[in-house]
Subunit: 369 residues, 2 copies
């Protein structure tokens, strides 16, 4: 598989939903496979909150490959012998695209809290500008889970002729208070952490010392991603064999899992990006700018294939089903809805590929009505 | 209604499950109504994590009455013209019973982290010692929700002839990793808060300045108590009219609710007590000391009436149903199980009284088989 990582620079202003302007900005992105002559083999992958443009393949001596590597590659579900796959790092995220820690041009100082709040529409708009600059004005498919699914829905509504097929997974048409509340824990934990220094931290300090507030926020996220059933299966009531049951800080296995994953997180993720991305997800509402959700969904012209997971306790299956039902009530035939039975909660779109990969192939081969 | 608040002092050692000893210890408790001549009209109420012995009535000019005041009182569900009701403050809690901030006798210094980890059995054992000291060796009923429900189950198993009727609500026979994970957020947020000073805080400082770590932990609790459906009903996507949608810290109503309730919490609750009580709940397992849950439940001789709430996402209805099913499989007839339809999540046992109060009266009047 041919893997390329590039950064595109844009000096034209990006007009944001908020009325603010991002100028200049950069988007880092990866491509897998090769663009065919008539540019008809493009698939766009959209990443989730803590994801990046590194969706597949492996750099030099990297220990772990990209986050959807089992899904994208030669001979895999998204077959890079056939498709040219693009995944961008969302603006606002901290893996190389313009973010709160980028210099606030013309100064050399980072934006920090001067960074504008972005919406899913803004992120998608920036991606479209990148694709235009590559001469790609139409794609075969857009696929994404969670916040990536929000982007997919946004493509479907705002750029009705851009993609033939759009596949949002484990997502919602508008963020409910339950998900907002989970993000709230993260936002408050970050804000109140003294190492955050009200946004005036030095990156090096965080890498050296961590940021417990971000770790605690990440725990709230992890809990919602894994969910109760998966926790019962994975951890049960197993207790760390090194710890005493009556030790105040003795740990159940689920606690060790949370500690391990959460306390490593601030080494790889930026707290200001986390705050801004939480806000972006919280204010996501596919119906914004329309009188009601029906009006927004009425615009969709692509084949929309919605996939939810039975055990998702962040974005519940009912939220995906509502999109389907609403479109059906509008008399639209260009929509399907599938709930995959899974015990892996919200994370299923990342870890339960075996349960939906054949279905994705069928969709891409036009075998799903 | 006659309301009395008293504190009992015990100088005999309390032998704990951990092998440690609490000596001396105090229990503060309230009573409502009057004990009849043959002491046959006693009902024990057990409180939840952040509750106290102040379950009903109102002190002098108190703004809010006790936490179950709609439930307990003259002519109410638990009719204090008929019953003599006792509610103790659990040892380990911070409302007057012996807790981590009590002096570690013979020193005058608080225990802090030298306080022993308590189990639900320890808490119940201490209550039994109090009741014995009052000459009460048998009661009509024990009723409690959440952590109070754990105590109720513990009474049923460990003191099979103590109560005629036991009513655990919104609880579990053993805490699952999902609830442990929610407590983990609280425990980590408290530990990492610099104002906590590794447990060496001064109470006055917390009252003056708050403890954001405890507030953030409380948020994790509140989210689990309220649940997604109730949040949809109560808050929807309403946004604070004072805040801008594209303001990074602009708030949805659900965020305002969480802020308001969480940031007030450290003014009334002690962080060390919170840590210890989380631990107590985490290690609750009614089957401990038995080979399996069946063996523990086989001991139950009282009438056990289990009540769950359809929308409880902290202790799911399945967890209560499992107790019922297991007892039925043992061939026991002294058990009933009812799931109340409610959209108020785990908190239903506190706020949806109308949905179960008649049922409780029927149980107390022996009209439920």
């Amino acid at each position: 598989m041919k893997l390329e990582t590039k950064t595109a620079h844009f000096t034209n202003p990006l007009y944001l939903e908020s009325g603010r302007i991002l100028e200049p900005y950069e988007i880092i992105y990866e491509t897998y496979g090769e663009l065919n002559a008539d540019k008809s083999n493009v698939i766009v992958i959209c990443h989730a909150l803590s994801g990046s443009h590194h969706a597949a393949g492996r750099y030099g001596n990297e220990a772990k490959p990209g986050w959807w590597d089992n899904f994208i590659g030669d001979g895999k579900t998204i077959d890079t012998q056939k498709y040219f796959v693009i995944c961008t790092n969302n603006i606002g995220s901290c893996f190389g695209s313009t973010s709160p820690m980028s210099p606030n041009y013309p100064s050399d100082e980072p934006y920090r809290f001067k960074f504008p709040v972005l919406t899913i529409s803004d992120i998608v708009k920036a991606q479209r500008i990148l694709f235009d600059s590559l001469g790609i004005h139409h794609v075969r498919a857009v696929i994404g889970g969670s916040m990536g699914g929000m982007q997919a829905i946004c493509y479907a509504i705002e750029y009705p002729r851009f993609a033939d097929i759009i596949i949002p997974m484990a997502t919602t048409a508008y963020t409910r208070p339950w998900a907002i509340a989970s993000n709230k824990i993260a936002m408050e934990a970050i804000r109140h952490d003294p190492s955050f220094k009200n946004g005036n931290y030095e990156k090096e300090d965080l890498i050296a010392n961590g940021l417990p507030g971000l770790a605690i926020g990440r725990m709230a996220g992890l809990i919602a991603y894994v969910g109760p059933n998966s926790m019962n299966e994975k951890f049960g009531r197993n207790y760390a064999h090194t710890d005493g049951l009556y030790e105040l800080f003795g740990r159940f296995e689920v606690e060790r899992y949370l500690e391990y994953n959460a306390y490593n997180f601030p080494k790889i993720f930026d707290p200001l990006s986390y705050l801004y991305i939480c806000k972006t997800m919280n204010i996501f509402n596919a119906a914004r700018g329309s009188d009601k959700l029906e009006d927004a969904l009425a615009k969709i012209k692509c084949q929309l294939h919605l996939i939810s997971f039975s055990d998702d306790v962040l974005f519940f299956p009912e939220e995906m089903e509502e999109i389907y039902t609403t479109m059906k009530e509008l008399g639209k035939d260009n929509v399907s809805y599938t709930m995959i039975e899974s015990t892996h909660g919200h994370d299923s779109f990342l870890v339960e590929l075996d349960k939906f990969k054949d279905y994705i192939v069928d969709i891409l081969e036009d075998r799903v009505g």
